[in-house]
């Protein structure tokens, strides 16, 4: 096992010093060292999307990011979307539309939706489907998730 190093990560605007070796993923760091448990470990293989976070504004799987490579980059997790206790428009839309069931996929799903809305403020149904196509949800059937994002984009 390679020796761990100290790595500086900027998460939700805050500086954190964490330990990471060559195998430590960003998901490991978030959950095991920083108790930022919003990102979930659904498969740890990069398929389900429950661990999605924003890395420099792009939605990526935290379970596939080697923590050391995230140094100097802007990391946003689900915990960082609120502003002064106010939900982001995307979060509020998910709440109002009834898109949330068991909620386990939701942090990753919301992150994917946020990334889309930041890149394309008027995204339509097909673009929304594409954006969330990497987020598996076993409860909702995706309909109300798409409804929620449409209510933000007007698409």
């Amino acid at each position: 096992m390679a020796t761990a190093q100290l790595v500086d990560l900027t998460i939700n605007g805050e500086e954190h010093e964490v330990r990471a070796d060559g195998a430590t993923t960003l998901l490991d760091v978030l959950r095991d060292q920083l108790q930022l448990n919003g990102a979930k470990r659904g498969c740890n293989q990069g398929v389900c999307g429950a661990c999605n976070i924003l890395l420099d504004g792009q939605a990526v799987r935290a379970c596939l990011v080697v923590a050391g490579t995230a140094e100097g980059r802007e990391i946003t997790t689900i915990e960082g979307l609120e502003r002064d206790g106010e939900l982001s428009p995307v979060q509020q839309a998910f709440l109002d539309t009834g898109a949330v069931q068991c909620g386990f996929c939701m942090p990753g799903m919301v992150i994917s939706a946020e990334a889309l809305v930041q890149a394309n403020a008027t995204a339509g149904v097909e673009e929304i489907r594409e954006a969330i196509s990497g987020n598996l949800c076993r409860c909702s059937g995706y309909v109300k998730v798409i409804d929620a994002v449409r209510s933000v984009t007007g698409g």
């Binding site: 108790q35 389900c48 979307l81 068991c102 909620g103 939701m106 594409e130 987020n135 598996l136």
Partner: protein, 1002 residues
């Protein structure tokens, strides 16, 4: 029930816990942490069936950071199991499936625990693996549970050998009824094992206090079942086991019985420290449970006018290695096998069988989806035979208010026809039914009806008036994500006319919650909703009692008013709940508490009407009805089925939270699309081949339509809270047959095996000989097994031909055509002896398709293929057709041998070689040259100059064949090589061996 009009029941208010889930603050089991917590890992068996000979845990114990290593040998023999007590905390003496927990480790971190677990050395003596229903039921089959006879069973089980439950339900006289039928359809249907694939893997955290009491938090559907399983597995009193559930990330039935809780509790007791275990996704796939794979023979008979007289069903459910709740799944499947129709003569028999696989257990639908796939497919097949529209046939036989379910229950309110008509009208059924083709896709629509149940077993609720007049609701109901916390809070708020914010719905906790069997059987809204409503009514009565004293008024003159008040009717005089609480706590009476407790109390089964043998249920619940229509598009080149739209009508009585009801219908539908089209647990011997989301595909946003129409139908249930019934499962139940019926409408293909993968659809379309369906008369019935005989040895899918057919329109007098044969018309064909041997050799090598130009030098061989029933000979007019045929054959799992000759060699060979190379197709290309390989033939082609460099560049191995007697061995070897390397192979045959005697003169 309430004094004023509804103000919160019937509104789609957001879930109470939605905000927490959306901010990442909601806690699931893996988000919990306790001081000094250790992490655990579970070791699964590498064998499907073996005796455990010895354990060596020294190496594991020696790993730094390891605090405990436990195996089955460390624990007494304490049987556990919900219906048949056939399991233990950890495997003892034997393992019965790959992945079965045999040992566990607790260590300072998860990685150390996993590493140590891999160092546990267990010696096994392999036993014969019994992997299929047929193998398990065969004479002399190896017994998986030798002690089955001695196991404690909580119901009157009929069992024998590897059959853990044999059940029979009958009504009327099915044998006599067949002779009154004008049309009979009898078919066999097969369904696959499906994984629950909830997004949160199984997890548990256990902690022990100084009195030896174990507290467990886990991802689960039932605190009562966790408590019972841990107590039973470890021999503890339930007074020493406390079970709680934090947020649960989906369950669908997979978390109804023990997952890892007993093991985690054992580790906590052993170490004296809190221990958490979170399964990896791979372990979750392999260790926990699945949906039953089944084989179902179903037979239905009707009169020409469409009146169905008889239904017979024979069910074989594959239970896997442990019984779990399989007997219940089989029983419920049998009960649902008649379908929601007034069929007077019914015989349903079932066998639930042990095999050395991951056990199967409850999963959304609980045995009903399988039997509904068979029944609703068969309804369409019957409609075909009768020349009736599928909806017309169903309407003719559908249950209506006051009709009786199979088993004798009277259904006072039956919304089936309502649902079916709404689905027919809203989907524009007649127009879409006309089907159509465009651009290589075929579109169609299919329908399915369903019935299900909600209710089952017992529950209770306690509602308390808090000191300030707000309310506390305590139940054992676990919210898996379906929204029960919110719906139950809405019911309480409605009953007492307060805002939902005044209702404190407390988390389930076995220390404080009344017993609740669990979140399953679509029962929480109905059962716990009733309990909450009744408990709230008791609180209401006590509030009115107190108020009547406080206001010195007759109770009859008082009513509740919105906002937590009691008012004198027709006046402004009122007193608030706060005052009432103060009065009772400090004045008269004591704390106001309301409670309800009940066991489902509907009509029992009627033994004078329905004979039941081995059936595990006493009473069930309220019946649910629905209808589903699905529109599909099938790609005619790839066989892929795209679901375009769905209309899903369900009679929920009263939607307590309409948004949540829609979400359950949509989610159930999408999970059903996965079941119908994509999902299948695949086994290689005893090993699960696809324990990963990469290889086990569940629907993503691209795989399902956006246009899913949930149609909420409300015919109130007289006994339900505000008229409500359940909805958790029904959304799933009819999807697979609706899709199979739609595929049939679109393509004319009837598939009776799930999932309807592109391979199956394409194979069926390739084997299709055209024509329309004909009714299966009584003569055809004899080809199927009789009710009492065991199933035949070979699964249909083991043979080349999958259970798909499209019966050609053939006059009754002619011979039925073998699949894929093109019998030439006219007199007998002269085939040279060599050609006959050649073709036998091809067949022997497993070749089933030969495509070639008929006017070629090897005409004799081609004629021999043409005349043979087992080889499908496809004549082509242009070599350019060959790659497409090869692709189709490959996708259908057939072996294709391409025979090509001189005349078009370069033109034909090159595109085929490139195609095979690009797709890594294991195809054998046989190239025949006139003349010797090195010399120029009469077309001026020299192989050495043209094809060899091309084959070499594509790394397609080739060998020259120069002697006649080498031809067949070379072809056989080449086929084997291509199969094993999954790569094309070429044989180049020189003119010497191709220049046959009487060449071209046959």
């Amino acid at each position: 029930m309430n004094d004023a009009s509804s103000n919160v029941v019937g509104t789609s208010m957001p879930r109470l816990e939605a905000r927490a889930k959306l901010t990442g603050r909601a806690e699931y089991t893996d988000d919990l942490s306790r001081t000094g917590m250790l992490h655990g890992a579970v070791l699964g068996s590498p064998r499907a069936h073996a005796r455990i000979l010895s354990y060596n845990v020294d190496a594991a114990r020696a790993v730094p950071g390891v605090k405990a290593v436990i195996t089955g040998a460390d624990y007494p023999d304490l049987p556990m199991g919900c219906m048949i007590k056939d399991e233990r905390l950890l495997a003892k003496d034997k393992v019965r499936y790959v992945g079965q927990p045999v040992a566990a480790v607790a260590a300072r971190d998860a990685e150390t625990a996993r590493r140590a677990a891999r160092l546990i050395d267990i010696e096994y003596e392999t036993l014969p693996e019994v992997m299929t229903i047929d193998a398990a039921m065969a004479d002399g089959a190896t017994l998986i549970h030798e002690g089955l006879g001695d196991y404690i069973k909580i119901f009157e089980a009929e069992f024998a050998g590897n059959v853990l439950s044999h059940q029979l339900l009958t009504e009327g006289d099915v044998e006599a009824a067949w002779s009154d039928c004008d049309h009979i359809v009898e078919k066999v249907y097969e369904t696959q094992q499906q994984a629950h694939a909830y997004m949160e893997p199984c997890a548990a955290l256990a902690e022990v206090d100084d009195t030896g009491k174990v507290t467990i938090w886990s991802s689960h559907q039932s605190i009562s079942r966790v408590q019972a399983n841990v107590a039973e597995a470890l021999g503890l009193s339930m007074a020493k086991v406390r079970a709680m559930t934090p947020r649960v990330g989906g369950a669908f039935g997979g978390k109804m019985e023990a997952t890892v809780q007993p093991i985690v509790a054992a580790l906590a007791l052993k170490t004296g420290k809190p221990v958490k275990v979170v399964l990896s996704r791979e372990d979750d796939f392999q260790m926990i449970r699945s949906r039953h794979g089944t084989r179902i023979r179903m037979k239905t008979g009707a009169k020409s006018d469409g009146t169905i007289l008889a239904r017979e069903a024979e069910l074989f459910y594959d239970a896997g290695a442990y019984a779990d709740d399989s007997a219940g799944v089989l029983g419920f499947g049998l009960l649902m096998a008649r379908g929601p129709y007034n069929i007077p003569n019914v015989r349903c028999e079932g066998h639930c069988v042990y095999t050395n696989k991951l056990r199967a257990a409850g999963f959304r639908g609980f045995g009903n989806p399988q039997v509904t796939f068979a029944g609703e497919s068969q309804m369409d097949e019957l409609a075909d035979a009768l020349g009736m529209d599928p909806i017309e046939l169903r309407l003719k036989n559908a249950m209506r208010n006051g009709d009786k379910q199979f088993g004798g229950h009277t259904v006072d309110v039956c919304g089936l026809v309502d649902c079916l008509e709404k689905v027919r009208d809203q989907s524009d059924w007649a127009t879409r039914r006309k089907a159509g083709k465009s651009n290589g896709t075929a579109s169609g629509i299919g329908v399915a009806c369903l019935s299900h149940v909600c209710g089952l077993l017992s529950t209770g609720a306690i509602v308390r008036l808090a000191e300030d007049g707000s309310l506390v609701v305590s139940t054992g109901a676990v919210d898996n994500g379906q929204g029960s916390d919110t719906a139950l809070a809405q019911i309480c708020a409605e009953a007492l006319q307060v805002d939902v914010s005044q209702v404190n719905f407390v988390a389930p906790d076995s220390d404080t919650s009344p017993y609740n069997w669990g979140t399953g059987a679509s029962r929480i809204t109905y059962m716990v909703g009733r309990a909450v409503s009744d408990a709230a009514s008791e609180v209401r009565e006590k509030i009115l009692n107190a108020a009547s004293m406080m206001l010195e008024a007759d109770k009859a003159d008082l009513e509740l008013a919105p906002g937590g008040k009691v008012q004198v009717k027709g006046t402004d005089i009122s007193v608030g709940f706060f005052d009432v609480s103060m009065f009772s706590l400090f004045g008269v009476g004591g704390p106001i508490i309301g409670q309800s407790t009940f066991l489902y109390d509907g009509e029992p089964f009627d033994p004078k009407r329905t004979a039941m043998m081995g059936f595990p249920f006493g009473n069930l619940g309220v019946y649910l009805f629905g209808a589903q229509a699905v529109e599909v598009e099938v790609d005619e080149v790839t066989g892929k089925t795209d679901v375009k739209r769905a209309w899903l009508a369900h009679d929920v009585g009263k939607a307590i939270n309409p948004g949540a009801v829609e979400g359950q219908i949509q989610g159930g539908f999408v999970q059903g699309v996965g079941y119908a089209l994509y999902e299948e647990l695949v086994w290689d011997g005893g090993q699960l081949v696809n324990p990963s989301f990469m290889d086990y595909k569940i629907p993503g946003a691209h795989d399902v339509p956006y246009e899913i129409h949930p149609i909420i139908v409300e015919n109130p249930e007289p006994t339900g809270p505000y008229g409500a019934r359940g909805i958790g499962e029904p959304g799933f139940v009819g999807v697979a047959p609706a899709i199979a019926n739609a595929v049939r409408n679109a393509t004319g293909i009837r598939l009776r095996s799930l999932p309807l993968s592109p391979e199956k659809v394409l194979t069926a379309m390739l084997n299709d000989d055209g024509g329309s369906a004909r009714s299966v008369g009584a003569a055809a019935v004899s080809e199927y097994a009789t009710v009492t005989a065991l199933p035949t040895a070979a699964r249909a899918s083991d043979k080349e031909d999958l259970p798909a057919d499209r019966s050609p329109a053939v006059p009754a007098s002619s011979e039925p055509q073998a699949a894929g044969s093109n019998r030439p018309t006219g007199g007998p064909v002269k085939i040279s002896p060599f050609a006959r041997v050649f073709v036998e050799g091809l067949k022997d090598a497993g070749v089933s398709i030969v495509a070639a130009l008929p006017e070629s030098l090897l005409a004799s061989i081609y004629r021999a293929c043409e005349a043979d029933d087992d080889i499908r000979y496809i004549p082509v007019t242009n070599e350019a057709e060959l790659p497409g045929i090869a692709a189709g054959a490959y996708l259908a799992g057939k072996k294709a041998v391409m025979i090509m000759e001189n005349s078009g060699l370069r033109q034909a060979m090159e595109p085929i070689a490139r195609f095979a190379y690009c797709h890594a197709m294991p195809m054998v290309m046989v190239m025949c040259y006139r003349g010797d390989l090195g010399e120029e033939n009469w077309w001026g082609h020299n192989h050495a100059q043209t094809m060899a460099p091309l084959l070499d560049a594509m790394r397609i191995p080739w060998r020259a064949v120069r002697k006649i007697e080498d031809i067949m061995p070379s072809i056989k070897k080449a086929i084997k090589h291509a199969d094993s390397s999954q790569w094309p192979v070429a044989l180049v045959m020189s003119g010497e061996c191709v220049e046959l005697p009487n060449y071209g003169k046959d």
